[in-house]
């Protein structure tokens, strides 16, 4: 099991305060259901951090409590602390977290289906002073990374393809101008070629826009390719963590690949993935 000491180690190295840091966090839904236990992790400025693990491990729960949206699902941090650049933000609401520059891209490509692609992008402008007016320039950042969107601006988002919808939710988040982006399963249900494209674009965004990213994904191989650091979760706890290049080489992770990278098991849960306790 991860301890405080392990988690803070990555952050303290460069002397900076981590953008986001969880210290021995326990998360409970509905006051009774224990979803996450003793989790410590951190992401430094400009890093891409991978949060890996099978379905039900607790990845989404962690993202939801960082963005504050978990509160609307009756989730609560019942132990430990969450820090944003050193500030204690434990159990703060979604509104406050948005004000602090966090944008959460929810699992499952949550486009506003009956709005057009353009109207979806427009919703990303909301934070900047509750705007009434907007112009085409506001969309430039979206077109820069996802030029395809420019051709389907009038399409109802519900009719866009899975790949287009994934690009749309990332673009909408970009327009929102975050400094920390939480991405939940950006690769889920997408063809391998698309996943590669989207992940490449994420790296570009990370480098050029200076946005720190925390990516929860079941596709360990792809995610570790672009990440600086990785955490592997199971049953609500962190089982392994290391710099991405080190993590990729670990035996337990190679086993984990088999469950996720093979094409035909992409849509199913990983049955045979099991990290043995002796490794931690």
């Amino acid at each position: 099991m991860a301890t405080n000491e392990q988690a803070t180690a990555t952050a303290v190295d460069d002397g900076d305060r981590p953008v986001v840091e969880l210290d021995n966090v326990e998360i409970v839904y509905d006051r009774h259901f224990l979803a996450v236990q003793g989790v410590s992790l951190s992401a430094s400025e400009g890093d891409i951090v991978a949060l890996l693990g099978p379905n039900g491990a607790g990845k989404s729960t962690i993202l939801k409590m960082i963005s504050g949206i978990g509160r609307s699902e009756r989730g609560e941090v019942t132990r430990g602390r969450v820090f944003l650049r050193g500030e204690d933000v434990t159990n703060d609401g979604a509104n406050e977290m948005v004000e602090r520059g966090i944008t959460h891209i929810l699992e499952g490509r949550r486009v506003f289906e009956d709005l057009t692609v353009e109207e979806n992008l427009r919703c990303g402008l909301y934070r900047q002073g509750r705007r009434f007016q907007f112009d085409e320039d506001d969309y430039q950042i979206a077109f820069e990374y996802f030029p395809q969107l420019e051709d389907i601006m009038d399409l109802k988002a519900g009719y866009a393809s899975g790949g287009q919808q994934q690009m749309l939710v990332i673009a909408r988040a970009l327009i929102h101008r975050p400094n920390l982006l939480l991405l939940d399963e950006p690769s889920l249900g997408l063809a391998p070629k698309l996943v590669r494209d989207i992940f490449e674009t994420l790296v570009e965004i990370n480098e050029r826009e200076d946005i720190t990213m925390l990516i929860a994904d079941q596709n360990a191989k792809r995610t570790l390719e672009i990440a600086d650091y990785g955490y592997v979760m199971e049953n609500g706890q962190i089982e392994l963590h290391d710099p991405a290049d080190v993590l990729v080489e670990r035996e337990e992770i190679k086993e984990f690949y088999l469950g996720t990278s093979s094409e035909d098991s992409r849509y199913t849960d990983i049955r045979h993935y099991k990290i043995r306790k002796r490794w931690t």
Binding site: V98, H104, R110, F112, N120, C123, R127, R130, R131, F132
Partner: protein, 317 residues
């Protein structure tokens, strides 16, 4: 033989009536779409709007009247304040409660509003201030004509509908309102406050419903308790349009308005109507026009429960 001029005349006034209903109907759909509340007090809210102008614009209840335009403004503003208070005090308690309990609350609310108006004015119609009554006829092409008061009311209604549509389609706030209605959480992560969105929805809904009531009154010379019936008529319109579709509410209202006008004119008491291609003759009693939309309501619920433009996930009523 069909008299074409009359038919066009009647259809036009039906379209106009539909445009007036549309404000009340869109008020209904907006609240349903954003908050999930089926507001069965729409008719009474429209009626209170209509009487509000009488209360403030004539010296019937208050010691002195204020100018007519100010009376309209005060009525709409007070309506909005009342709506926001109701949301805060009453409807917020019912978020996540079964649909039925909220429906009963709105029915009770309707009765209370109705009681207040009956208490103040009894069942009598009340004339509108001079400034809001226009006599005369406007001539239209083909020898048809329309009453000036009616034409003005319809024109204003259409402007309000257009402004509302532009707001929904062309502004960030309007898009956000529709976005929150379709996926609350995905809107929240963009910084949208759901409470504020709900307050905005009530504000807009009450405002256009009150304006609808006022226009219904000006188009007929004054406030009358019959405006209350709009509540059930627009229900036919929104069910046809698909409860949660705002353009659907508009189109449904137009259909219902035309149906009602045609029905009232052609199927008045004693009129004999021949069923086409047969010798069968039907006689209709008075007031059949107002029943037609309700017949339509029944048919739609049976045949197409989600209406023309509604989303299928809506609970069947």
């Amino acid at each position: 033989m069909v008299n074409w001029v009359t038919l066009i005349d009647i259809s036009l006034s039906g379209l106009g009536l539909g445009a007036l209903y549309a404000l009340v109907a869109m008020g209904f759909s907006l609240i349903y779409k954003v908050t999930g509340v089926l507001n069965f007090a729409q008719g009474q809210i429209a009626m209170v709007g209509a009487y509000g102008v009488v209360i403030f614009g004539t010296a019937t209840v208050l010691p002195a009247a204020i100018p007519a335009w100010a009376a309209v403004l005060v009525t709409v503003l007070l309506g909005v304040v009342l709506g926001l208070a109701l949301e805060r005090v009453v409807f917020r308690q019912f978020i996540g409660e079964p649909v039925l309990s909220v429906i009963i609350v709105t029915l009770a609310l309707g009765s209370i509003l109705e009681g207040v108006i009956f208490f103040l004015y009894g069942q009598n119609a009340q004339a509108y201030p001079e400034a809001l009554t226009f006599g005369g006829q406007l001539s239209l092409p083909l020898g048809t004509s329309i009453q000036a008061a009616y034409a003005v009311a319809v024109a204003i209604a259409l402007v309000v509908v257009a402004v509302l549509m532009l707001f929904f389609r062309r502004t960030v706030t309007g898009s956000i309102l529709r976005a929150s209605a379709s996926d609350e959480q995905a809107a929240m992560v963009l910084g949208v406050s759901i409470e504020r969105t709900i307050a905005l929805a009530w504000t807009l809904s009450i405002a256009i419903t009150a304006i609808g009531g006022i226009l219904l009154a000006t188009s007929s010379g004054g406030a009358a308790v019959s405006i209350e019936n709009t509540g059930i008529i627009i229900f036919a319109a929104v069910v046809l349009g698909g409860l949660d579709s705002i353009p659907g509410a508009f189109i449904g209202s137009i259909v219902v308005g035309v149906l009602q006008e045609l029905g009232s004119y052609y199927l008045v008491g004693g009129t004999a109507v021949y069923v086409p291609f047969t010798d069968i003759q039907a006689n209709f009693g008075a007031g059949f026009g107002e029943i037609l939309p309700l017949v339509l309501l029944l048919v739609v619920i049976l045949v197409k429960p989600y209406g023309l433009f509604g989303t299928e996930r809506i609970e069947r009523l």
